[in-house]
């Protein structure tokens, strides 16, 4: 999924930021967002509110979430 995420990040550059969180180094964010599996993708709006959440690799759903987040 990493190449897909990188491609979408480049496509929506300037509209949607991507922040990668390695849970092997710091599991704190996993607790904050109750992440229990990887890969997990959580989209936040500019205020920090969760607007979408996906678990597992689904390129189509991920692109829809990017599109949705880019219009906010």
């Amino acid at each position: 999924m990493a190449p897909i995420v990188d491609g979408l990040a480049k496509k929506y550059e300037g509209k949607v930021e991507v922040r990668k969180l390695n849970l092997s180094n710091d599991p704190t964010p996993a607790n904050t967002f109750s992440v229990s599996a990887v890969p997990t993708y959580i989209f936040l709006d500019s205020t920090g509110a969760i607007i979408d959440r996906q678990e597992g690799g689904n390129p189509a759903a991920l692109q829809n979430a990017f599109e949705k987040a880019s219009k906010m």
Binding site: K15, E17, R19, N22, S24, P29, Y41, G48, A49, F66
Partner: protein, 148 residues
Amino acid sequence: MKCPNCNSDTPDISNACEWCGAALYQDAGAEQTPGDMFDRQAAYQFGYGLIEGGETPPPPGAPGYAPGDASYQGYGQPGPYRQPGPPPPAQHRPWYQAPWPYVIAIAIVLIAIVAVVAMQHSSSSQSAASAAFVVNGKPTLLDFYTDT
């Protein structure tokens, strides 16, 4: 009324005929004949003025006469004073007169209010924590991964 002496019309309020001067009413101290006055007892006994098919009330003091009945006897005797009794037992009262439905309703409303406030507080806390992960104030994708 008609004067019994000269048979002339004279005002009812006069004690004497205004034409012949004859007394219209007997003196209070004069002896009265049975037919001169309204005999209440006779009127009572014979149903004076009773409409057809009607019946007279029981005689004063007769059995069945209500103690408080003011008819024919003047004002009746008031009944004995009785203390107000206790309220009926709770099990005989309808549910809406019991306190517990209202207590339960108030408790449900309070629980709902507390739950909504707690949810809002939790949501705002989550949002505040999430705001720290926003990059450059723009919509942000958090990509959780591990080395393995």
